[in-house]
Symmetry: C6
């Protein structure tokens, strides 16, 4: 497994994925509102530029670039400066145009990728492709074609996807076929622990690479995403509502043998 890796620059996370995302792969990041999907994507693009010298492209279907500049700046990342240096493009577009201009070998996005020598792309978000048609198969086909076009250009992409589940068991089912089409499938989830809401990250799929199977805590700190330890001592994490393992409860009362 000697594939070239596109490091995210988040050390603990890169460790989980054997060094980084596989160069040229399509990586889905799915989570509920507030789980930090966009932050993770911006961090991947920002670090790509400043740490690994890989020019980036952010395509957004809802937020204006101003919002990206502003939110990134709060985290200490000056995207506008990077744009001026010719290392980044943040573009507001719509799914239909985007598909067309990236699928067509002479499309605008293809030209842009080649002109800027873009190596990393973030899409915010794949969910907007679902609004193009009500035919499930067509959505799947559109997403497949879009992902294939990104791969043809050789870029490493981070594809964001909205997940409506806040907590609980019901939503533990995929709601679109996207996870079957991508190379990597990363889930961000809320978890209730001891009367607080923490965040959990797990990697369910990573084609052509070994990856950590742990469910890890992470935080959105003033300087970006930080991946932390597992939820040791708790059960039912993916149910969203944990409980202490009975063993832990016993030991706290009777002492450890």
């Amino acid at each position: 497994m000697s594939s070239h890796r596109a490091k995210t620059g988040i050390q603990a996370f890169d460790n989980m994925i054997s060094g980084g995302l596989i160069a040229g792969s399509a990586n889905l990041i799915e989570g509920a509102p507030g789980t930090g999907k966009t932050t993770l994507a911006m961090q991947f693009i920002y670090n790509g530029i400043v740490k690994y010298n890989e020019p980036g492209l952010i395509i957004t279907f809802e937020e204006f670039p101003q919002q990206f500049y502003h939110d990134a700046l709060e985290l200490g990342w000056d995207l506008r400066a990077l744009e001026k240096e010719g290392m980044l493009r943040v573009i507001f577009s719509d799914p239909e145009t985007t598909l067309h201009e990236i699928e067509n070998p002479e499309g605008d996005f293809v030209s842009l990728i080649e002109e800027y020598d873009v190596k990393r792309v973030a899409i915010d978000s794949m969910t907007h492709f679902e609004y193009l048609t009500r035919d499930h198969y067509e959505v799947r086909d559109i997403e497949r074609r879009f992902i294939n076009a990104l791969k043809r250009e050789g870029v490493t992409s981070v594809l964001l996807k909205e997940n409506d589940a806040l907590l609980g068991q019901v939503p533990n089912s995929i709601t679109s076929k996207t996870p079957f089409v991508v190379d990597t499938y990363i889930l961000l989830r809320y978890v209730e622990v001891e009367s607080a809401i923490r965040k959990a990250l797990l990697i369910l799929k990573m084609r052509g690479s070994q990856h950590d199977k742990d469910i890890r805590q992470y935080a959105i700190t003033p300087t970006g995403i930080e991946v932390e330890e597992t939820f040791e001592g708790h059960e039912g994490i993916m149910s969203g509502i944990t409980h202490r393992k009975p063993q832990e409860a016993f030991m706290n009362v009777f002492g450890k043998k």
Copy 2:
């Protein structure tokens, strides 16, 4: 994170959100009937005026202003007096008109915001936008446009949203895309504890700011919302139906080590 803050004037709550809502942001407050959404919004507007000298605007799509005056007065807040002082407007409108008059730079609501130098806006409730069309994407688009218009005017808004879930796990899923569009997402929930119904508040999302991750109790007191402690010693809070942690139960019987 030096953003200007719009304090709610509820001390414990302002502490949870690093000092206050971010000035100019759109803040969603979602809860079941009786969880105090409207009280929280009125308190934000009232305190804004009397404590922080920020003129307010309340737009309501269902209740008549009289109901607001009456309910606020029960809590000791004389909205009518504030209206006479030119510091507040309480307006009964419909979603369609409201969208038009705030999106259009020369619309009535825009004029009103400018004339009164309105700094805080409360919308009761976003749910009514969902009745405008059955097309989910269109609802999302309408809400996005509405929120963008509020931001363009620079006001700090509190957007109420009805949540049909009383208790239990099934509704632990968002039912519209609004939480993805707003800056802040605050949930109010009922929780059964020891044969009583208490209320829980948690902040799931706050763009550009650190915030408390605790699930906190709160009460609607004769003088407004008061945020209290966590549910320490109980598990399963977000399921709506808690149980004592086994450890707590053991300790109560066998004593603490």
Copy 3:
């Protein structure tokens, strides 16, 4: 909170709601079949007349008045006698007519309320408004208009609503928007305790008033509703299927410390 109170005459219940329902308010009582909704409504009307001298009006959309007379008489309440005294009217109507005759300031129900000086109204049940149209918003609007008309007349109303949930977690969600529109929202539920079915009452919402947050047991006795203690020592009451708290179980075996 000095609002005038319309006492129900059920002492323990009046205590839970700071003395009584707020005069002029609209109060929703929701429950499964057999939970005693109609009994509670009749008791409110009957006590209003004989204890507090407030004339009453019962509007029923399904049961004939004869059934009301008969059922009330079983509980010792002679409604027919009260009708003869001019203190009560029991009327069988349909939702459409009722809405029209109460919304129109010169409608039949308005005249009747004024002629009899009616102070208390019971509607059995709000559920029948849902059959008027399949448009959710229209139902909400009809109910809002109906409730506003009742308020305009200044009567204190008890609005019954059928809840299809017998037990269990799934139905812990409101099934219509009525609870958002009313002033008070009271839930009646079945609860399994120790191989028996008991009944639980809780108040989720009461605009402009403090109220008890306890989940209380109640019984339908030969003389009407009686509100009793909480379910102390049991958990999961709102799930419909309780279990003893582990602590209680431990103490019963090992003794109390």
Copy 4:
């Protein structure tokens, strides 16, 4: 509560309902396939004739009378003999005809009730009325009219209703509005206890009468339904899948204090 009672002749069951069903009332018995609904109805009719001298009528919408004769004979009840004595009629009909001939004061079923002086009626089953129309309100209206017609004739009726739930929490919701329309609502359910399937009976509603709140076991014996004890020592009965109360489990291991 001195209403005349129509005893079922099942001693333990009559005790649960203060002596018997209320004469002239409409009594819903709901259960999954195999819970003994038909057996209970036949027993009510058979005992009515042989023990209390009340002529009976069984209307069936699916089974042929031959099946009834055969199944009853297995339980020692010779329905055919009772028909010959002029004390019973078993009639195969369809819901539409039945409604018409019982609602119309000069209809065939009305004549039959009067000619035979029928006091008890069994309907197998109410579920077939649901096939008449897809309009929920119309079903409710049809059932209400049907029940009112039965009441007008003064008969005590046992109305069977199919429940699709075998076990588990999801179906703990009523699936039609029938329970709101009838006087009595009796549920028959399967319950898993110690790797066996037992049967539970409970009375959720009984207008104008006190009734036992216990969840009772019952069996279909070679001589008919027998009502037995509660499920003492088990929890979660209405979930369909019980567990021993932890207290019981402890006591079996550590002994009783």
Copy 5:
């Protein structure tokens, strides 16, 4: 209960049903894929011929007879030989033809039953009748007519039905009305026990006969179905995912008193 019995030849199973299926009855066997429905049906037919001298008929709507011959031979049952002896017919047909040819007193299947003196019939599967129409009532009516035709011919039938539930509580509801129409209702289910999948058999309904209420384990052995013991010591069997009873767990640690 002296009805003539059609023994299945599976000793432990015949014991559960008071000696055998009731001659002339319609018996539904429902289960998920792989639970051995077809094996059970073939065993009933095979044993009928070789042990009890009752000619058999298998009607299949999907599998070719070749598959039946092959699968049966794996279990040591030479169906082809029995066909040659004139004791068995295995016929591939479609639901529409089958209904017609068995309902019509001069239909092909009626002739065949009479010619071969068929006593036992297996239908694989009833599920295919559901594809004939989308009208639930029509499906019920078709199945009722089909079953009545089988009864008219006096055969003992085993009717297979596909159940989509693999494990878990949600599917604990019947998905068609067939169980209400048949005489016997037997469920085959998967159950997780100690990190393995076992199989459970239970009889929910058996008209005119006593039957075992136990939930029994069974296995598909190289010589056919074998019914085994209950799941003693485990709870929650019908949830599909058992757990040890706490009592058992305690005793294994602390010893039995």
Copy 6:
């Protein structure tokens, strides 16, 4: 049970299925994204060629052959080399064409199977047949015809199927009728154990063969699928979210007796 076996070459897995898949059978492998369905299929085909000298055919409806070559090479399997040797064909097609060319005895796929003497076929994936029509019965019929055609050609097939369930109880139901039509039904599932996501494999159905009933762990290693031990000491595996058996928890604290 002396059927010829098509070994997968995964020793522990072949042991679970009495030596291998039955030659000529249709074997369904179902799992969520990332569970290794495709890896398992490639391993079956690759081992078939290099270990058992059985030529293989892979038909893919979404991935290009290049992706297969690449992913296989990561696992050390040089598919392209095998193609050159004439032992393998990897073909990108669509469901419609595939059905036609394999059902028609003179179709392209039939010719190819005969020309290459193909013994093993992998289909990635059956799910794509569901996009051909919205009629459930037609999907079933298409799949049955497709499977019959494969059987007619005598090949041993591995049919992949996408399962949308990530974790939890809700999806424990089959979502298509495919499992009823195939000979073997193998489930791959995610399971949360101790704050990590592991993978579980179980065999629910295997016509004409004994098979292991254990729920086994497995891993996708750098050299392919490896089947490991059971989840001993944990309960609730098929719920997706395990917990330690209380007995285990006790023993860890109090010691083993």
